[in-house]
Symmetry: D2
Subunit: 319 residues, 4 copies
């Protein structure tokens, strides 16, 4: 790239101004002209918006982390309800916490108290489990056990995603859980590390012969990627959901055309959660011409902002 | 803390809902009932708001990082203009970049290009300096040199803050620079590592006998802290500005009553930038009863959101 | 804790001295008297040593990340060979890379070149996959496919750990792979997210009816924890292996008595990989009286140092 | 770069083996053939060794962070004593802590206790200041005050580096402090943010007219860089020391030929501490043909290993 080219390509950073007219859409549009993670957040919003508008695009969404305990269940629910997710891949933990809320239990926090105001030994004695600054009473597991013990599982060798769809059906119609809305909108949920969860433990304790077919899920995912004319991917937090989507996208004829990830992990130690989207290009998981953006941010900050932007932006288009 | 007490203290995590009615104020209020950095961001907003409403409180603001190049000059400008900052401590770099914009130069970014699309050797040949994904042409320094060479400095031994006030006076009335608004609003700017900047280099080259009095600034800061009935502090990015404020607050009769920090650094390696606000309690820099919140976030995301919240929240109070 | 108590508890930081007599054992012993991650590394070495010397202790080892590609296959192999691991939990990726090396393939690196000297689009064209600064030619997968296509799997519903034991048996006696040494030393390998791997993909493509029983592994792990008089745990990199060990340890009568983790993730965003070991106390996964240490470090630096220390330290005891 | 070229460039990752013959030199040499931060650490060792062997090279060393409290005073001392540093740039904090140890005070740590076993409010009451998991009693400051109050400063406008040299002269001959060894070996210490320190506060309180000339230091540094045929740089922890060295190297005819940095900060938020060495190439601070390596590690782990390697490696050359 010559000096001449650089002058053509580079453009002014605009100094962002917050006014009484500022809206989430105008804010994000302004941040597009800024730098660092502000720009990356704005690019992610723009790319996701384009992904939604592109009717050929199958939208894969990878959800790791403990987002339901942190108050993000309804945010994920809305991503699904609004049609912003076509295929969900998540962890057993997220499903366990989603189910807990669906069964009427709640996660807790310390109000104006800080995390360090609580002692883990005392929490243990009080049978309260800590997830950073969020707390879950142990009794939640008893509720899940109760629920699980009554399930009538028709086929002990169904795929995990079929089982999760079946679970969704057991929940009341108006449940605002991820399991329910996925079942209602026919969005498949994949959970490759399902046995790594409190829900699976209860299931295994009560159904010693259960052998949900994880390979069936794996092959289904490959087929979904294979059939996708265009693929878009949004990765929240990395982990197994990221890799499971990415390994499938290797079989997508054009790899991912759009890619977003939100993570706090870093790339230098070589773990997949922190790996850049550029790295995914070398594997043929993301197309070299893809539009992509990685936001280094806690998802509890970035995800509500992206949802807010998308809802407002899509509303405008409908009007 | 007994189990009984825990039940009294802990409260429900509310599952956040984005609606067509969502505003920045309602969003932040909802995040107060969430977890992780979302809650911390909400707490920081609430604490800053309270700090503004508390007429006895002197508001110290530490600004490290390269926020002007990333498009945040006007955000900082507005914090000052709105009266949200009483004393600013910053780096020579921030002042240099602020001056560059004030003199009509601009920072650049790559539009839809990603950082990795640019090669640093080629940027060097093109005389373009990179700050992550923001770019500054070398010619900016020539402009600064020009400006500096014409300065008529009345006292080569004035304090750094007096010099920065003098600099502000040289800028046009309508300049939307940090230097100008601080001069207009009589907000002192301290810059303990001033000679660690491009501006100071030019100043030294053109004024071989200059010896701005850094000790005078240091003692002034101690006096400001000493005289503060109440102190509030907002630290952006850590570094020397954080330590300079914190070392002064040790002399504040009540230490800081309110404390906020926004950082991406972590505490375990013992550097001050990543140190927790709890640690500052042991030093008597932050009061043990202080309200405080650390947000682990890129400031380019958190700072505009806090400003937006504060402007809306303060507007409501005025009405 | 009163001031008096503090004086009794706190002890001098010794200023570390490197001499011509320095050995790995003396270095680690000195670092015990230092601060930050140096002290944490030293504590981890000491705790692991004690874990080995404690004959009642069952040693669980969780291995995430891409350690085999980064040259750490033989380090993990030696942990197993020396008897430092009783139960291994790992990712499908680690097994795939281990198998690749066992089949005679190699991971590559750039010598004196830096990561940024390689372009991901060109790597993709050259069919070379990047893992940060390590590279794996695509042809490795063809070798794995070849190997997998010839496997004669006796029971398509065996557990994943039985399958991995079977795999180990297919490898030559002198193979220095993790799969082989585990089979030879009868160390079970659990891999809860097995279908999230290149190996499982090949296995699924060639055995459409395979349904390895993940639930059997899960229940076995719970039983192993249940039967452990004492449990010790070393977590490398977090991920599913960490959670799978930790969820099982909830059923261990005394929770973990010793706990070590090596991670670069941070706790504030609430993900399990970065969660502190204190948090695990609230869940009853780690005993409140446990000896524990978290090292914030790339495992490729910390793990060889720990192995070196343990080998020297154990050798001394034998003599 | 064509596929053919890639095959020529890429080389095998060697699986590291720890044996009874392993020495620090053989370990580092093996890690050179590994990946991730292990390789980066090995490259840093190799580059530093070459820097020492290159007689034309002026070795700049930037030291931020709280390394003396963490037990690294003697490590830095030895870097200077062995001739591995020609110019030291550091923070006021490091000098304050170095002086404290030189005056016979000590930093403290909690032995087998963990950081979280101490409460910051109680530490405050006990007049003990916390630096992550290291503790410094407040009385240290009284000792420093005592020392400072007796200083007879000949020239209140000398440069900061002259003052630090003068300080070193006040310390006993056998003091193993950084200040002393720098004075003895005539290694200049620059400290651009000197007034941001406990030592400077005491100095200012007792010498109201002091005005150490920071600009003189700044111009001296530029001259040192200007005169360097070759420059090598080792940055520990970033901060002002990093920028002060880097801004000077812009005036070095060939920029830095060798560059090493050890940091836990990350680049994406645009702060200088986490900025890559590639970025420094765009500024002309590091030569595009330089040998360079960034280690993402706590310096308390990496620095002793590098010193150990260098001492052994240099000893071999002498024999």
């Amino acid at each position: 790239m010559s000096e001449k080219n650089l002058e053509d390509i580079l453009k002014r950073v605009n100094q962002l101004k917050i006014t009484s007219e500022t809206s989430i859409v105008s804010l994000i549009n302004s941040l597009k002209n800024a730098g660092f993670n502000a720009k990356r957040l704005a690019m992610a919003c723009e790319i996701y918006d384009e992904m939604i508008n592109d009717e050929e695009c199958i939208k894969f969404f990878g959800l790791a982390g403990a987002l339901v305990p942190a108050g993000m269940q309804r945010v994920v629910y809305d991503f699904i309800k609004e049609g912003f997710i076509d295929i969900l891949v998540t962890t057993g933990a997220n499903i366990t916490h989603d189910l807990a809320e669906a069964l009427g239990y709640h996660h807790l926090q310390g109000g104006n108290m800080n995390k360090d105001d609580f002692d883990d030994s005392q929490l243990h004695k009080a049978e309260i489990n800590r997830i950073y600054d969020v707390y879950m009473p142990n009794k939640v597991y008893k509720g899940i056990e109760d629920f699980v013990s009554k399930l009538e599982i028709s086929d002990s060798q169904m795929s995990v995603s079929s089982f999760l769809n079946f679970l969704g059906k057991q929940l009341p119609k108006d449940s605002q859980s991820i399991l329910k809305i996925c079942e209602q909108k026919k969005i498949p949920i994949y959970c490759p590390a399902f046995t790594d969860s409190g829900l699976a433990l209860q299931l295994g304790f009560h159904n010693q012969n259960i052998n949900l077919n994880h390979f069936k899920d794996m092959l289904e995912m490959v087929n979904l990627a294979w059939d996708a004319k265009k693929a878009g991917v949004c990765i929240v937090g990395g982990g197994v959901p990221k890799n499971f989507i990415m390994q499938s996208l290797q079989f997508c004829p054009n790899s991912a055309t759009y890619a977003i990830q939100i993570t706090m992990d870093r790339p230098e130690q070589g773990g997949l959660s922190g790996a850049t989207l550029e790295e995914a290009i070398s594997w043929g998981k993301v197309n070299e011409k893809a539009k992509y953006s990685t936001i280094i941010s806690d998802a509890t900050i970035a995800l509500p902002l992206i949802l807010w932007f998308l809802k407002e932006s899509q509303k405008k288009k409908k009007n």
